[in-house]
Structure formats: structure tokens, C-alpha cells
């Protein structure tokens, strides 16, 4: 987000605005698509008056109409309301997963990049191991140990993201540590910690944050997959993967229960990826 502001100073304001990749129509649309489920997660009551857990006396398996946008499920619950109330859990899980990858991965990468020697060798071999175990099996291994549930699934997916962050953070750190301004900082009496906080982390943060946003989309997908397989929260709590999995049993008679939630998940992932690539482009 910093770069467009800097551009404003360098060029006439209008050109900078017109050229900003943030203002392309597709990027704006992506921002809007991401904003909606975020608002769902924060204020579900504003978006639906229906109860996500209790269908009451509503007929089951109703097709979409003005009152039930996505139709109703096998016990008459409004599926749109379940998606709205499920957004919080599904998005929070994705954020936890990415945060685990970002924090642990960055720590490994920065330590490896600044300490060098045998510490770097050990850390990067651990990263090699994390890369070489196929992601889904690594996360299932964590799930089998920790048990089922949304938070455990989020941690499991987060562990598969560590390696990418660690490799990027190390590469960034190596570049920064070699630069003249770090030499100057050491020359004027800064110690390791000061250099780390004032130079390495701020300069490495741009690319790492872009990767974090890109990982968010893939985390949403992986978490919904594990929740579809039944390793997340048990029903009736709404969670995106679980809603699709429940709709699946009625796909022959009520296809919308599966199709519409799937399209929502897909749209959010496409939009998040788009924002992530713009963020990376802007950084470069």
C-alpha cells in the first residue's frame, strides 16, 4: 500500500491515480467481492434476518427465491444465512492458518538469513522436509494428532504454509543484510537486534505480506476441503466446506444447495488471489 503513495509525490497526482493498479475495474471488483464476506463475518445480523441453526417451520429443500436466496436445506434452514454466519469461522480459520505460516516462516527465514552457518543449514533442511511432504498429508498428520475442529484444521493448514514464507524471508533477508545501509547502520553502532527491527523486517515485509494475501486464497480452499472431509467443526455449526458437504446429499433434487455455496467460495478465492497479485506487482 505504500508504493502508490510514494508515486503520488513523484508524479502529477492524476496520472498516478490513473495508473494505479488498485483502480483497475477488475481489482475494484475483487476488492468488493472480498469485502462482502468480511462484512458477513463481522456483522452477520445486518445481512440476513434468518436463523442459521434453526429452520423453524420453513419447508425443506426450497429452491432459491426472494426470501431464501440460496434455498433451504434438508431441515429448512436458510442456506444463504448459513453462508453468512459461516463466513466468520471460515475466514478466521484462513487468517489463523496464514498467520501461523507468516510468523513461524518469517522467523525461520530471518534467523537463517542473519545467523548463517550451521543454524541456517539446520533451519533450511527443516524447510526442505516441510516442502517435501505433500501438503495435504502434512496437514492430515497434524489433524490426526491434534484432533478435529476448526482451529486444529487452521493450524494444520498453517504448518504447510511455513516453508514458502521461510524461503522468501531468507531470500529477502540475505539481500537486505548485504546492502550498504545495513553496513552503515552497523558502522554507526547498531547491534543485531536493532538492524533486525529497523532494517530487515520493514524492508522484507512488502513481499511477505503479498505472499500472505496470496496464501489466504489457498488457505480458504484447503480449509474448506478439510472441513468437507469432516475434520472441521461438527454440524450444525455453519462452515463453508461443511455446508457444501451437507448439500451434496441432495444434489440430485436440490442442486443449488451445493452449486451456490461453491460459487461463493470460488469467487472469494479468485478475488483474494487477484488482490494478492496486485499487491505483489505494486511491490516490484
Amino acid at each position: 500500500m505504500n508504493t502508490p503513495l510514494k508515486n503520488n509525490k513523484a508524479q502529477p497526482r492524476r496520472t498516478a491515480l490513473r495508473n494505479s493498479p488498485w483502480l483497475k475495474p477488475l481489482t475494484l471488483l475483487a476488492g468488493l467481492i472480498v469485502l462482502i464476506p468480511v462484512l458477513w463475518a463481522l456483522f452477520p445480523g445486518l445481512f440476513t434476518g434468518q436463523d442459521p441453526l434453526d429452520g423453524g417451520s420453513t419447508a425443506s429443500l426450497l429452491p432459491p427465491d426472494a426470501q431464501h436466496w440460496f434455498g433451504t436445506d434438508q431441515v429448512g434452514r436458510d442456506v444463504y444465512a448459513r453462508m453468512v454466519y459461516g463466513a466468520g469461522r471460515s475466514l478466521l480459520a484462513a487468517i489463523i492458518a496464514v498467520a501461523v505460516g507468516l510468523v513461524i516462516g518469517t522467523a525461520i527465514g530471518v534467523i537463517a538469513g542473519t545467523q548463517r552457518g550451521w543454524i541456517e543449514d539446520v533451519l533450511m533442511r527443516i524447510v526442505d522436509v516441510l516442502v517435501s511432504i505433500p501438503g495435504i498429508l502434512l496437514s492430515l498428520s497434524v489433524v490426526i494428532i491434534l484432533g478435529f475442529g476448526t482451529v486444529n484444521v487452521a493450524l494444520a493448514v498453517g504448518i504447510t504454509a511455513i516453508a514458502q514464507f521461510a524461503r522468501l524471508a531468507r531470500a529477502q533477508t540475505l539481500g537486505i543484510v548485504r546492502s550498504d545501509y545495513v553496513a552503515a547502520a552497523y558502522g554507526s553502532g547498531a547491534n543485531h537486534t536493532k538492524v533486525l527491527i529497523h532494517h530487515v523486517l520493514p524492508n522484507a515485509s512488502g513481499p511477505l505480506l503479498a505472499l500472505a494475501v496470496l496464501q489466504l486464497g489457498s488457505a480458504i480452499l484447503q480449509i474448506s476441503t478439510l472441513s468437507f472431509l469432516g475434520y472441521g467443526t461438527p454440524p450444525p455449526t455453519p462452515e463453508w466446506g461443511l455446508i457444501i458437504s451437507e448439500g451434496r446429499n441432495f444434489v440430485a433434487t436440490a442442486w443449488w444447495l451445493t452449486v451456490l455455496p461453491g460459487i461463493i467460495v470460488m469467487a472469494v478465492v479468485v478475488a483474494t488471489n487477484r488482490l494478492g497479485s496486485v499487491l505483489r506487482e505494486v511491490g516490484e
Binding site: 517435501s132 498429508l137 490426526i144 472431509l229 488471489n273
Partner: protein, 316 residues
């Protein structure tokens, strides 16, 4: 070229080290650390096992040994093809895995080939499409494909292609017919990164002077694409082989569950549902072996496919 055997040995050593470390991590995590946790199911009073019987089961799984002995015997077992026993069924894990492997191998292969075909088609349309809008649409397909929930795609394909349109019989299909939809399901997300790399490298290759020269010499159409462009665009695509392998494993777990196929993926899902750690451990180690071999082959074959790398290797 004198350094080549040294390079191969070093690369081989690195592969063995990573595999060994992965085995150590997975066995500590899944077998040694939970230790009696794996055995806890047998002390369930509902099973009505006596203390001696439980002790016997513990001994047969090696859970009564100190951790380093468990680790050593597990390692020795894996080296000799003895993967222990399923805590759920008591069957030898090697039997379960070898029964499940062929079906998954066929699915992974057909899925991979479908992904390649799909990726090449998308690349062709994105690079050579007749209209600007057609090229733009094809160009944006990979980012759409990569965002499709695989399990959702599988459900949708079965419902619409099989039941509504009746194109493919899923109730009593032949061996080939039963592979079509699972392969397409696996292929779609895998084709995305391949197509992305291909589109980018085709664009780069087409801008190279030698392509213009070949065209000036009279080459055109498919011949030009296959001989001058695709050949040179393939080597960047090889770099994502590891990524593709991981996606194939994930795809197998999901599609085998959705389509009710037997195989390693279904075995994995069952193992997690039943807390069957020895089975999951074996699958993790075998899949990691697969990943390590694929990456080793790519690294070793790379210089053969791309002559430009041979001189660089020799110089290094």
C-alpha cells in the same frame, strides 16, 4: 562436464537426507510421540480385553519399548518393506497400501496427462487465439481453475455430466469410463499452474529472434509451435513438477472420497477418520519418497532437456 557425476552424487545424497529427515519427523510425530495414545483405543472397556491381552497388543505394536527402540525398529521395518500393522483392522499396512496403490497410480497418471492436455489447449488459445477477447478469456482461465474447490467440482461433474446429461455411466461404468470424471476433476486445478508457466514462457520464446528466423525460413503453424516454441517453453514448466506432485496427492484424497474409488486417497481419509496412525505414517513416507524422486529426476534430467544448463553446470 567433469563435475557432473559429483553433482549427481551430491543431489542424490541430498534427496536421501531429506527423505530420512521426513521419515524421522513423521514417525516421531505420528508414532513415537503419541505412543500410548495410539494404543488408547484398546483399553476401552467396551472391547472387554483383559490386562494381559492389552499388554500383548502393546507388545505386538512395539508400544512397550523405549522410544529409541521403537524408532529404530520402525526405521528398519521401513527399509525392509515392513510398515507395521493398522490399529483399526490389524492388517499389515504393506498389504493395504499395495492393494490401494495401482488404482491411485492409474488415476494420478490419467489426471496428470489430462492436466497437460488441458494446459496446452489453454496455452494455445491464450497465445494464438483468433480474437483478442478469446485470448484474454483463455489467459484468465488458470486463475479461475486454481480457485475451484476440487471436491465441489467432483460433485457437480457427477451430477450434471452423468445424471442430468447421461453422458457417462457412473452407476456401473467400465474401467475406462469410471476414470473420465475423476481424471478431469484432478486435472483442472493442476492444469492451472502448468498453463500459467507455459503461457508466460511461450510469450518469451516467441519474442526470441530464432523464432522469427525460423518463421522467415518458411516454418508456420503447428510445426513452428511444436519444434521452435513448445520445446523451449517446456523446461520452465518442469520446475513446478514438485508442486504438481503435491496437487496430485491432494486431488487423489479428495476425488477418491467424492467418487467412492478405492485407493491411497480413500485409505488416507479412512486412516485420519479412524486415527489409524501407522497407515497414515506409511502413506506420508511413500508420498514423500515419490516427491523426492520426482524432484530428483527433474533436476537430473533438466540439463539433458535444456542444453543451455549443461555448460552452466560444467562451469560450476
Amino acid at each position: 562436464m567433469t563435475s557432473t557425476p559429483k553433482y549427481i552424487l551430491a543431489r542424490l545424497g541430498q534427496a536421501v537426507l531429506v527423505l530420512f529427515l521426513a521419515f524421522t519427523l513423521a514417525s516421531l510425530l505420528l508414532l513415537i510421540l503419541p505412543g500410548d495414545g495410539v494404543m488408547a483405543r484398546f483399553s476401552d472397556p467396551a472391547l472387554g480385553l483383559s490386562k494381559d491381552e492389552i499388554a500383548g497388543i502393546r507388545a505386538s505394536f512395539g508400544a512397550d519399548l523405549p522410544w529409541w527402540q521403537q524408532y529404530a525398529s520402525t526405521l528398519l521395518g521401513f527399509l525392509t518393506g515392513d510398515f507395521g500393522f493398522s490399529t483399526q483392522t490389524g492388517a499389515a499396512v504393506s498389504t493395504l497400501v499395495s492393494a490401494a496403490l495401482p488404482s491411485t497410480a492409474v488415476l494420478a497418471l490419467t489426471g496428470f496427462v489430462s492436466a497437460l492436455v488441458l494446459a496446452v489447449i489453454v496455452t494455445l488459445v491464450a497465445s494464438y487465439g483468433r480474437f483478442r477477447w478469446l485470448r484474454d478469456v483463455a489467459d484468465s482461465l488458470p486463475s479461475l481453475f486454481i480457485s475451484v474447490p476440487v471436491f465441489w467440482l467432483g460433485i457437480i461433474l457427477v451430477e450434471f455430466v452423468s445424471f442430468r446429461l447421461g453422458w457417462i455411466n457412473v452407476v456401473d461404468p467400465g474401467p475406462f469410463e469410471s476414470l473420465i470424471l475423476p481424471s478431469v476433476t484432478i486435472a483442472l486445478p493442476i492444469s492451472a499452474p502448468i498453463a500459467q508457466v507455459l503461457i508466460r514462457s511461450v510469450a518469451e520464446v516467441r519474442a526470441q529472434p530464432y523464432v522469427r528466423v525460423t518463421r522467415a525460413k518458411g516454418a508456420a503453424g503447428a510445426w513452428l509451435f511444436v519444434h521452435a516454441v513448445l520445446r523451449n517453453a517446456i523446461s520452465p514448466a518442469l520446475t513446478i513438477a514438485g508442486l504438481v506432485f503435491g496437487e496430485l496427492v491432494a486431488g487423489a484424497v479428495v476425488t477418491e472420497t467424492v467418487f467412492g474409488r478405492n485407493g491411497i486417497g480413500a485409505l488416507t481419509a479412512q486412516a485420519v477418520a479412524n486415527r489409524d496412525n501407522p497407515v497414515l505414517l506409511t502413506i506420508v513416507v511413500i508420498a514423500t519418497l515419490g516427491f523426492v524422486i520426482v524432484n530428483l529426476l527433474v533436476d537430473l534430467l533438466y540439463p539433458l532437456i535444456d542444453p543451455r544448463l549443461r555448460t552452466r553446470k560444467a562451469a560450476a
